[in-house]
Symmetry: none
Subunit: 241 residues, 4 copies
């Protein structure tokens, strides 16, 4: 996995494989929590139960370790996208896709934070990643396929690009999590409370599907109750919690 690391030797020992994995996991935690500049080599080595020197032995320097982290989470994300099975019904498929995407962000906070950090670095490392270079991004295809299928069946409007749909789906899922702290403070509520998270999951499906509805279609009857309380300032006790 690492370029030029000790994994190239003929017969890798179990022990060092395990150590390398532990280092990478510790690095994910650390870079995810503190960003590239804030991450500390020492903390990573401690969490991995080894010494600083080993990180250099395995990864050469801090930047290459960071790149390995990016590669790992990217690979995992791609894997999850590949595992998504597209149902036949485009509407249901789109709904499942959006939910799946949201669920993935929710269950992979490291991914969200590492992506934020990498964008703060203006994508410096992801641009030169071999993994990204090699691998296509399955979600692009999935959305594209789903959209075409729905359009062919007349259940999706025709004047919409899959690029826009993809960006819309990611926006609505990612932002809610990535900006939870400032938004919770500004709005004065805990956006991450269970009921709010559930309500948002439904909301973003509705937003996308409503948008995809072809011109003549009748708007579906929406759920009659809104499970979260109206926006209120100043940390009001959350009646929905």
């Amino acid at each position: 996995m690492t370029a030029g690391g000790p994994t190239r030797r003929g017969v890798p020992r179990e022990r060092s494989e395990a150590l390398e994995t532990r280092v990478l996991e510790a690095a994910i935690d650390e870079f995810s929590e503190h960003g590239f500049a804030g991450a500390r080599i020492e903390r990573i080595s401690q969490r991995a139960g080894t010494v600083d020197r080993m990180l250099y032995y395995y990864y050469g320097n801090k930047e290459r370790l960071y790149q390995a982290v990016l590669g790992k989470i990217y690979t995992d994300m791609i894997g999850a996208q590949r595992n998504f099975v597209t149902p036949d019904d485009p509407v249901e498929g789109m709904r499942q896709l959006i939910g799946h995407s949201w669920d993935h962000y929710v269950s992979h906070p490291h991914l969200v934070r590492l992506l934020m950090n990498e964008n703060l670095l203006r994508g410096k490392h992801i641009a030169q990643s071999e993994q990204v270079e090699r691998t296509s991004f399955p979600l692009v295809e999935t959305v594209s396929t789903l959209l075409a299928s729905g359009q062919a069946k007349g259940v999706f409007r025709s004047d919409v690009s899959s690029e826009h749909m993809l960006m819309t789906i990611m926006s609505l899922g990612f932002f809610y999590l990535s900006n939870q702290y400032t938004c919770s403070t500004w709005i004065g509520v805990d956006l991450m409370s269970r009921p709010r998270r559930k309500a948002w999951r439904k909301h973003i499906c509705d937003v996308v599907l409503q948008f995809l509805m072809p011109p003549g279609a009748t708007a579906p009857q929406p759920s009659p109750v809104d499970p979260v309380t109206p926006v209120r300032r100043r940390r009001a006790a959350d009646p929905s919690a």
Copy 2:
């Protein structure tokens, strides 16, 4: 910090005001570019045309300077939100609001990056900011008012919360900019090209307004042409650029 610091003076002198402002501006640049951990006091003082020592004289330490930066961009953002004049027509008002919000993000990249960074810090500093504590967030009211007005007139569906609308508007605008690097790489296009930015601006208005359309309404005829080319991988030359 020495007793009798600059914040205590009764009548500030022109000269020191100017320097303090230059320091703050340089700090906005630096923290925005490198995040809290990556920011360097020395770079800030150099950009401001002074020496490190003055930052400590004015702000005490790195963290307080960072907080001043957060306070400043927050205040500016609030100001822009206050300046937004809500038109009478709710549909047009909503459209303008979304566009305005997007335009603000586009023209204030520092704001976007600083918010990303602050969320990476889990909102540690914004939570304890006096400015945020004191000031309400005008956009909350604006969205709420617009929504209520449109609902009263029957042009907006009734089963939607202003909290969701606010988060939707912010998501669609913010994410496109905040995650431009990773998304551009993944999708294989330059999301920030002029035509793409224009198209996205229109798209997010459409998404929101389509969602707000009341059940019985006829979907408006969408613009017949999609100004951006379909998603394509591998840094294809952008035909629309």
Copy 3:
């Protein structure tokens, strides 16, 4: 009091006299607590309710302020020594003198700490103090007089120098207080508990007077009970407290 300070002006204002005094008192606290190197100008000015600049205005620099502090406590100590009234009975006089000296140390912890600190500085500042240069040290005379008187009356041995007696008296009183922390830790008791302090006061009188007893004299019957428990290690509960 201060050399070259603002007190030289013709009509000193009440306010600045008071401030100067407050500064000096704050400086006594600070230098006494932290020593010369550890003392902070800022803390002194804050405690005195003023700003750093004023200390420089009144005293010129840190060293001169420290010297003013030394001068003040020296003057106070000399005053206390002058106020001591020597009784006619040399034995009783000596006993009172020792007790008085001990009591003074106990009630002036600043004095003890400042003297420790000044000795750590190898007497650098006290050597060049005008006050010390000008003023004789009354205790020298008092001890000398008492000793001579007792020797003339035959109640004190004749082969003892007043220098030794003075140093003995000061040693027994000062050390117990100055080294209370290390000694308490080593011995494993709280040397500063009330009963122990009382017992020590009596003990040092006994030591000195026993030593001064002329050759043929019968040793006085000492007090039959020792109010403090024997030395024991490890912070044993103090049964005498």
Copy 4:
């Protein structure tokens, strides 16, 4: 500090041991001379022939280095106390003990100054020292044993505690050295001249033994001449020097 610091290594190399020792010795000099606050890391590293960074590598920070210094001098002092061989004759033993204690202070000025400094810090570091916690203070036992032995033989009075005797012995020795500067100035003589030091050594033995004399005993004939001149003010030329 980096994980895997020098204290963890299994088999220390000669070279690093030597450097670590040099650093500790330089630190003893520096802390002893300037106290904790006045000590400079740079001066220590220079005297030890290394760079600042190494002090942090070995000791982590200034405070831990200071604690190592305290531990070292404490250990050395304990060692010296252990090496003291108690003679059979309690009177002679006590005399030797007092002389030994005085000689130790005289030959270890660092010890005296570091103890002064530590007491100025209110014993903050010695209280939390593992060395002190683990090790008993041999002098306590020695004095106790000697006292009991003398009391059993009837040559020491019975109404005296070993705690008081220990504090008396330490007071008379320590203070003379610790407060030499202020006392020399006050009294107007050089207390550290060779004859005065010799005379004081004898004096403190006499003081303690006179005090320990049992009630009925005849006071021993003291030495007929006092080798030092009477107290005189103003830096008179010392005729005994």
